[in-house]
Structures are given as C-alpha cells and as structure tokens.
C-alpha cells in the first residue's frame, strides 16, 4: 500500500468570487521509503502541495489518503497528532524558536508527544548528535550559522522517528556547501527508510531524489524516475 495516495487533488484559495486555484487536480502516489522531489517554477503550487500532504492545510476537492486513511476523516487535533508522530518538517526559513537552545528546539516535537518528560533530553541529544551538533547543544540558535540552523531543524524533524519528512526548500537560504551538507543529512534519513518529500527549484538538490514530480500551474507536468542517481557535490544533473 502506498503511503500517500492523491486523486484529483484540488486546492483553491480564497472564495466569494476571488478564488485562486493552486492545485487543479493531481493524481499520484508515493510509496513508503521513496524520495520524491517536487519541482517547478514559483507559483506552480509546489509549496501548497507540500502543505496539504504534510497535514498543515486541507485540500478543497479530491481525496488524499495518508497511510490508507482519508485526510477528511481526521479532526484538526488528530491531524496535529499525525504530524507529531509520523511527520517531520524542514522549512526554508528554519523556523527555530528564538532565544532558545539547540536542545530545546529539538525537544519541541517531544513536548507534544506521549513520550515521558524524563526521556526528552536523551532522545533530543541523540538527534542533535545525528546532525553533528552535540558540541553546540546548549547554544542559542540565533548564534548559529544558516547551515547549522538547518541541521537543528533536521534534528527536530527526526526526533520523533517520523515515517515521512517534508522539506520545503531546505537549502534555499544556504550557500551551496552548507546546502550540500543538508542534502547529505536528508539523504541519510532516506537511506534509513524514511520517506522524503522535497520541494525545491534547485536541480542540484533534486538530484538526490529517486523521482521528480514537476508541477506547472497547479498541474503535474511530468513525473519521472531518476535512473542515474548521483551522490556527492560535483556530479549535478543538468
């Protein structure tokens, strides 16, 4: 069974005559442990798609099955639970809590989970170590570099052992070196069996994916498997 299955998925913003369609009927599915990149020009609806798939926003029409269950069947609180237990998010703007330590940031999803408070520190520390920031665990996030900030965000995304990680332009605010490191970390998550949905407009990040869905004007323009996968920084697909 596919982890994600969408049929005729539509998302229309606004209403009362000023309706702006962002997604105009998408059909596709994503298997467990798949690494999918969503690409396309700005305004094509790729971020909207990620938000809907990540249970952050509800679609307007069509069906969306996550893990076999339709999104319509979830209440807002249940959506929050699923986001907490099964999903991880990495955003372009990092979205870390200001004036808060790295460890506290990584802990955040645990706060809203059923995990006992006494375990929070150890679990969060492990995640911080996975992104190689254990020496900065007590630092305030405002004092970190962009690349480090995004590593904290990745640690936060993986702290609850999610089935799927949604990454929205995770390298968009980073130089290519840091961006490469971030992509390595995301790829590492994929290697461990985590499903990855990556929204990007940069080809060099998309090349980590096994499959690239291209959107244009709210519709799928192409959906292709990447046959020749490349690893490392210097063999970008052009």
């Amino acid at each position: 069974m596919a982890l994600i299955e969408v049929k005729n998925l539509e998302k229309i913003y606004g209403g009362d005559g000023a309706e702006t369609p962002a997604l105009r009927g998408l059909d596709f599915s994503v298997e467990k442990a798949e690494f999918v990149a969503v690409m396309g020009p700005s305004g094509c609806g790729k971020s909207t798609l990620l938000h809907v798939l990540g249970f952050l926003d509800r679609h307007t029409r069509g069906t969306y099955l996550f893990d076999g269950k339709s999104m319509d069947q979830y209440s807002d609180d249940e959506l929050a639970k699923v986001r907490n237990k099964k999903m991880g998010f990495v955003f372009q703007m990092f979205n870390l809590l200001p004036r808060t330590s790295v460890l506290e940031n990584v802990k955040l999803p645990l706060v809203y989970s059923d995990v006992k408070e006494s375990l929070w520190n150890d679990i969060a520390m492990k995640a911080v170590a996975e992104v190689g920031l254990e020496h900065r665990a007590d630092h305030e996030t405002t004092k970190l570099s962009g690349g480090e900030k995004q590593r904290v965000a990745i640690a936060r995304a993986l702290v609850n052992n999610p089935q799927i990680v949604f990454a929205d332009e995770p390298t968009g605010n980073l130089d290519s070196k840091s961006g490469g490191q971030i992509m390595e970390l995301i790829d590492g998550l994929h290697e461990k069996g985590c499903t990855i949905i990556l929204v990007t407009h940069e080809t060099y990040t998309a090349e980590y994916a096994e499959r690239i869905i291209r959107l244009k004007d709210g519709l799928i323009e192409s959906d292709m498997r990447v046959t020749a996968r490349h690893h490392g920084g210097d063999k970008f697909i052009k």
Binding site: A80, N84, N95, L108, P109, V111
Partner: protein, 412 residues
C-alpha cells in the same frame, strides 16, 4: 504537553521580555497594592475604633434622645432632641423600675474655650455627675471629682483633663485656680490622669456638674445622653427592657415605633462600627479594583501584540504537533503567570506600605494602631490577579489557538 513544560515556557517567555513584562504588570501591581493597602488600613482603622468602643465598657448602656438616626438628616436633628430630662433620670434611679441598673448618670457634651491668664485652650465640656468616675474608670491625678453637693448647688467647679492642665497651666499648680469659660469663672477642683485615646477624649475635657453645665454652658434643661451601667453583663438585655419600659411610661408612649429615645450598647456600637468600616472598605476596594480592570486590559493588549509577534512560533508548534488547546493553554498560562506575578509583587508592596503606614500612625501620629495584614487579603490578591490574567488572557489565547499552522508559518 505537561504542566511543567507550560510553566517553564511561560516563565521563559517573561524572561525574554523582562522590561515589557515589568511594564505590563505595573497596572496589576498598582491595583493589587492599593487593594492590599486599603484592606490592611481598613482593618487597622476598624480595630482602632473597636478598641475605643470597647472602652465604653461591656456593662454600659447609652441612652440617646430622639429617634434612632437612619440617615444623615436624622443625625442632624438628633442634636436638638430634648426628650431626656431630669424626670427620666429620677425614674431610672428607682430600683423598682430597673432593678439591674447599678448607676445612671446624665451626660451633656459640648465645646468651649477655656481661658487662664493669657492661655486659651479649646476643651470638651462634659456635664456629668459623680458616677461618671466609676462608669468610665476615670482616675484622678490630683484633687477631687464632682460630687452630689456640686450638682445640687450648681457649683462653679471643673475637673480638667491632663492635656487641658498642661496647656493652660504648664508646670504650675492648677487645683484651686480659676479658669474662664463662656464668661464665667470655674474653680479647678481636680486633674485627671492621662488616659490616651478612648471613646471620649478625657485628656482634653473639662468635667463639670451637669446642672452647672446645663445652666451656664449649654443653657438647656435636657440631657444629651443618659449613661447607664448594669450590675452585670448578663443583665444587659433585661436592663435595656427595663429602661425602655420606664422611659415609655415616663414619656407616655404606647407605640414602641414612636420611641423618642434610643439605646446603644457596646455590642450595638461594635456592630455599627463594623458595618460602617466594612462598607467604606468595600467601596474603596471597588475603586481600586478599577485599576485591576485597566491593568487587565493592558495585559490583553500586550498579549495580543505578543500573539502577533509570535505567529511563526505558533505555526511551528502546530506543525510539530501542538493542538489548539496546547497553544491556548500556553498563552493563557503566560497571562496568568504575568498577572499572578504582578499580584505577588502587589501583595509584598501592599504589606510593606501598610506596615510603613502603621509605623507612621503609631510612632508619629501617636494612635494605638496595630499593623494587621489579613490572610484573606493575600488570598484575594493572588486569586483576583490570576483571575484577571485568565479573563483577559482568554481572548489573545483564543486568537493564538485559532491560527492555522500554514498562515502562521508564512507570516513574515
């Protein structure tokens, strides 16, 4: 989300915005401080007056002429009520009428300027008789008290209070000297011991035979009060009954609602004082409570700003699994924490200021003021301030909880 985490986050939120938090809770601090101050001072004032009322004595009954005052207008009329006269005094002194009355003495009260040589002093004239000394436990420092002979002969004599003696005579002998009041000379026959604060300020009084006071000072034929002492506390109620029956007979009154006298005991005076001071205190608290509401609006305002500022944080928290109620409790807790802190500071400030006021009132002003800080005030302070935080935090917290994660994450 655990309560511990909510509290920790609320605390961190305050710590990150120290000066803003301080300014925000200022209104609450001022409100709670003033309520604490009013409650403490109100209680202190009540105790002070009650102490003075206690000095009336538990066995003492005061009969006033006229109708019992129910309003300010009544009180003004009471001054002229002339229903208590010599005949009433005579009737009450008959043991057949009131067997439990130990002593009855009339009392006329007024003011006059006393002059001795070049010194003048404004004194309280107390026209009374020999029993006053027992009823009010008056002690003499020198000389003698007013006696029956003085009363019968309208003697031009006066017993003066310690303050009067000091002001008019200084260190010189006063007994035997003549002081002038209302164009007439009175021989000083005794000096009272210093008594301090009490229901009647004996230190500033000149006690005279009531007959003399009636004739030469006030020019009246009635009494301002009749002071009755029962033989025991147990017989107070019986004595009140006896007085009522005797006076109604004496005044030909059959309908008790038409009584032209009214009776005050220590207990009724205590009740009255309590009623008056409680009403006053509640009124002042109500006024101070307005500042709490203003403070609450300030909290709401700042919380709304904070919610807008932290839209991104709210979005993120929601994205990683916070439910609406998680966000709601976080912001509500912050508001309650903020006002609760204001409440605690207000209580400490209020207690310190009332202690300072008590010190000034007792040491500088010289009142027998005792510092009291009711526990009820403290609980009220904490409860009310936390309540204000809850009520005024509710709206901003709801606004925060209502934010959709995506709107919140997009917010720049």
């Amino acid at each position: 989300m655990t309560t511990k985490y909510i509290i920790k986050t609320a605390f961190a939120g305050l710590r990150n915005n120290k000066s803003r938090a301080a300014l925000t809770i200022l209104g609450i601090v001022i409100g709670v401080t003033s309520i604490m101050l009013i409650m403490s001072l109100g209680k202190g004032a009540q105790d002070l007056i009650l102490n003075q009322v206690q000095s009336i004595g538990a066995k003492t009954i005061v009969v006033h002429p006229g109708r019992q005052p129910k309003s300010l207008m009544d009180s003004a009329q009471m001054m002229n009520a002339d229903s208590l006269r010599q005949r009433d005094l005579d009737e009450l002194r008959k043991t057949t009428n009131a067997p439990h009355i130990a002593k009855v003495e009339p009392l006329n009260v007024g003011g006059a300027t006393a002059i001795y040589e070049n010194e003048t002093y404004s004194v309280t004239i107390l026209g009374g008789g020999e029993y006053l000394q027992d009823i009010y436990d008056i002690r003499l420092q020198e000389g003698r008290f007013v006696n029956l002979d003085d009363i019968q002969s309208h003697a031009d004599v006066a017993v003066i209070g310690s303050k009067v003696k000091e002001e008019l005579f200084g260190a010189n002998d006063a007994v035997g000297q003549k002081i002038r009041m209302k164009d007439r000379n009175y021989r000083v026959i005794g000096i009272l011991q210093k008594k301090g604060q009490s229901f009647i300020s004996f230190d500033e009084a000149a006690i005279m035979p009531y007959t003399t006071a009636q004739t030469y000072i006030f020019g009246i034929k009635y009494f301002h009060h009749l002071i009755v002492e029962a033989d025991s506390e147990e017989n107070i109620d019986a004595t009140i009954k006896d007085i009522e029956i005797t006076l109604r007979n004496s005044h030909d009154i059959t309908d008790p609602t038409k009584d032209d006298f009214w009776i005050v005991t220590q207990q009724t005076a205590i009740d009255q004082v309590k009623t008056i001071t409680n009403v006053l205190t509640s009124f002042l608290i109500a006024v101070a409570a307005i500042s709490l509401i203003v403070g609450g609006v300030g909290i709401m305002n700042i919380m709304l700003v904070s919610v807008t500022e932290r839209t991104r944080e709210i979005g993120l928290r929601k994205a990683v699994g916070a439910t609406n109620s998680d966000i709601m409790s976080q912001f509500l807790m912050e508001a309650v924490f903020l006002t609760g802190l204001g409440g605690i500071i207000g209580i400490i400030l209020g207690a310190s200021l009332s202690l300072l006021a008590a010190l000034i009132l007792s040491k500088v002003v010289g009142l027998d003021w005792i510092f009291t800080f009711p526990i009820s005030a403290m609980l009220l302070g904490i409860g009310v301030s936390a309540g204000v935080g809850f009520v005024f935090g509710l709206y901003p917290a709801r606004q925060a909880a209502k934010k959709s994660p995506i709107e919140a994450l997009r917010y720049e």
